[in-house]
């Protein structure tokens, strides 16, 4: 019998300690790869291949970072990546919220049927459409430009439409109606009421979009050829091909490529978590 009294029984204390122990061990396991990454990135190459391997670098070589980063036109790749990521993010935010508004706050015939189509496309593996898409962009002369990477984002993303719609549905309809009675247009309601009330979910969409396009490798690999147009992901892959076994340099560059995401995560953690919760709950 567990009691709801003031003190905890010995059994409860032991089980609580056990929970902490497991969670702490798990945390170590989760963080170890990152520690390993940092540690390797600071070792001289001769120490990287020492046996047995050192968990902490015995000699710290900060120069690994500037040395590795100057091997790549890092600033150019960073700029290319940011350019693509920001334009994709804007497109996905604007278009997906417009579409989601129509699917949640407006009444029109065919709404439910079309929403099923949105959900079905959410579940469609993009590779099925990739080859014709490649051919179309090739006909348009857009291979080796940023267009094939950016344009699709401006047609709305089904996943974000779903997410935003779920959120918009939680708003009360009375508020919309009151605004309409006061002479606000339907679009005005969307712009002045729905969007400002939806900052958390818009933040979540922005972060997801940033994360996805920052990490994306498949589409840049297919659509970009010229090294000057590479994103960081492609640049990193090229670097790996050239410096395949210089693990200290590879870890340094990889860490730098991850860093913006980690920073965004720490500053916007709340939005991250909220957003994930919107997507997966029920």
């Amino acid at each position: 019998m567990s009691s709801k009294g003031v003190g905890l029984s010995a059994r409860q204390i032991i089980s609580k300690l056990f929970v902490y122990l497991i969670l702490a061990l798990g945390s170590i396991v989760v963080l170890l790869p990152l520690q390993w990454m940092i540690s390797t990135s600071l070792k001289p190459l001769s120490h990287v291949f020492r046996f047995p391997p050192e968990f902490w670098p015995q000699k710290i070589v900060w120069e690994n970072y500037p040395n590795a980063l100057t091997q790549l036109p890092f600033d150019l790749y960073f700029f290319n990546t940011m350019f693509i990521v920001i334009l994709c993010l804007l497109g996905e935010l604007i278009v997906s919220s417009l579409v989601a508004y129509a699917f949640s706050r407006l009444r029109w015939r065919g709404r439910n049927a079309l929403f099923i189509v949105v959900l079905a496309t959410m579940m469609l593996p993009r590779q099925v459409t990739l080859i014709p898409e490649f051919i179309v962009f090739r006909h348009l002369g857009m291979i080796d430009t940023f267009w094939p990477l950016i344009l699709p984002s401006w047609f709305g993303n089904p996943f974000y439409i779903f997410l935003l719609r779920q959120y918009f549905l939680t708003h009360s309809r009375e508020l919309d109606q009151a605004a309409v009675i006061d002479g606000c247009s339907r679009f005005g309601v969307f712009w002045r009421i729905t969007l400002p009330m939806s900052k958390p979910v818009l933040g979540a969409v922005a972060i997801f979009s940033f994360q996805f396009h920052w990490n994306d490798f498949f589409r840049p690999l297919i659509f970009l050829l010229d090294q000057d147009k590479y994103t960081l992901a492609l640049g990193l892959r090229f670097f790996q091909g050239t410096y395949g076994t210089e693990w200290n340099s590879l870890m340094a560059v990889s860490l730098v490529v991850m860093l913006p995401l980690i920073i965004v995560f720490f500053f916007a953690q709340k939005h991250f978590i909220q957003g994930v919760v919107f997507t997966g709950y029920k």
Partner: protein, 315 residues
């Protein structure tokens, strides 16, 4: 369970038979027009085009030649690699998805026990889930290094001499499963939110009735969480089957094609060998395979997914 029912259970499937206004309908179509255009240009047309293309032989430069079912015949009967890569992709998914769900659930349940430092633990477990792509693949390639890698170094602490992981035909798939487990926090955070939404009076009632922890988990927690788990399962299948970057970076399909996941093979046929017709056939077979898996899961849902009362969110 049908897709329509699934949508209904997601909430907000409104009854809109009453009171349409012309202006609203026009505005609605204006607002969804980018999506409609995108659906037609980037989904519907390419799907039909790739189906048509799958009956042709085409190297992208010369004119396409109609070959009937030859691409499909090759895919199923003469070229051994498509079915091999489909098989290992399914095996990998069957191992990776349940393990991620179980670990995610266990961590979420441990975090949901009124512990201190919840936010710190949650951040730590969730962090790897935001990282993916080339940088993570390179990191894990180094971790799996047989002599100098982190994993075998850690195993040696326990007196175990680890395998060559990415260099071993047997261990390469388990290596990918382990790597994917690192991002278990993505699911964990969703389960945690689901757990926190379960009304406590259910547990209080169960306690009064004398239910033990085992009964509480299997009679309350898991049924209440089953829609969340189901959603994770469906998206997990679609997401996991599409593994590409890791194998492209870490093994390039090796050793001896042991990690030649389906998309890597498709990529090679389409964008390295420029066999656009054959690759389209590959894409369609992949699509059907994922669809079948998803439909099987939907069919099982009525036996284990529990939806509480009516859907919420109707307006």
């Amino acid at each position: 369970m049908s897709l329509a029912q699934f949508v209904k259970n997601q909430g907000g499937f409104v009854n809109v038979n009453i009171g349409y206004k012309r202006g609203e309908t026009v505005l609605a179509w204006a607002m969804i027009s980018p999506w409609v255009a995108g659906f037609l240009l980037l989904t519907a047309f390419p799907m039909i085009a790739s189906l048509a293309l799958s009956f042709y032989k085409w190297n992208i430069i010369s004119a396409p030649v109609y070959v009937g079912l030859a691409n499909y015949h090759k895919l199923f009967f003469t070229d051994p690699l498509p079915m091999h890569s489909l098989k290992i992709t399914v095996i990998f998914s069957l191992a990776s998805i349940p393990l991620n769900i179980v670990f995610g659930l266990v961590i979420a349940m441990l975090l949901n026990t009124n512990i201190r430092g919840l936010a710190v633990f949650r951040t730590i477990y969730y962090l790897p889930a935001i990282l993916s792509g080339v940088a993570v693949a390179i990191l894990w390639q180094w971790i799996f290094s047989s002599d100098f890698g982190l994993l075998n170094t850690a195993l040696r602490v326990f007196g175990i001499e680890g395998p060559a992981w990415l260099g071993s035909k047997i261990w390469v798939l388990p290596a990918f499963v382990i790597m994917r487990l690192w991002s278990v926090g993505g699911g964990m955070i969703i389960y945690l939110a689901g757990l926190q939404a379960i009304p406590t009076d259910l547990y209080e009632a169960a306690e009064i009735d004398g239910a033990n922890w085992y009964q509480r988990i299997f009679r309350i927690t898991l049924p209440m969480l089953s829609p969340t788990i189901f959603f994770q399962l469906i998206t997990g299948v679609i997401f996991t089957m599409q593994i590409f970057t890791e194998t492209f970076i870490m093994t390039n399909g090796g050793p001896a094609n042991a990690s030649l996941f389906y998309l890597l093979y498709l990529y090679r046929q389409a964008f390295q060998n420029f066999k656009m017709g054959y690759a389209s056939a590959l894409a369609w077979v992949f699509f059907i395979a994922i669809l079948l898996l998803t439909l099987i899961l939907f069919a099982t849902a009525k036996f284990w997914v529990y939806y509480e009362g009516e859907s919420e969110g109707d307006d």
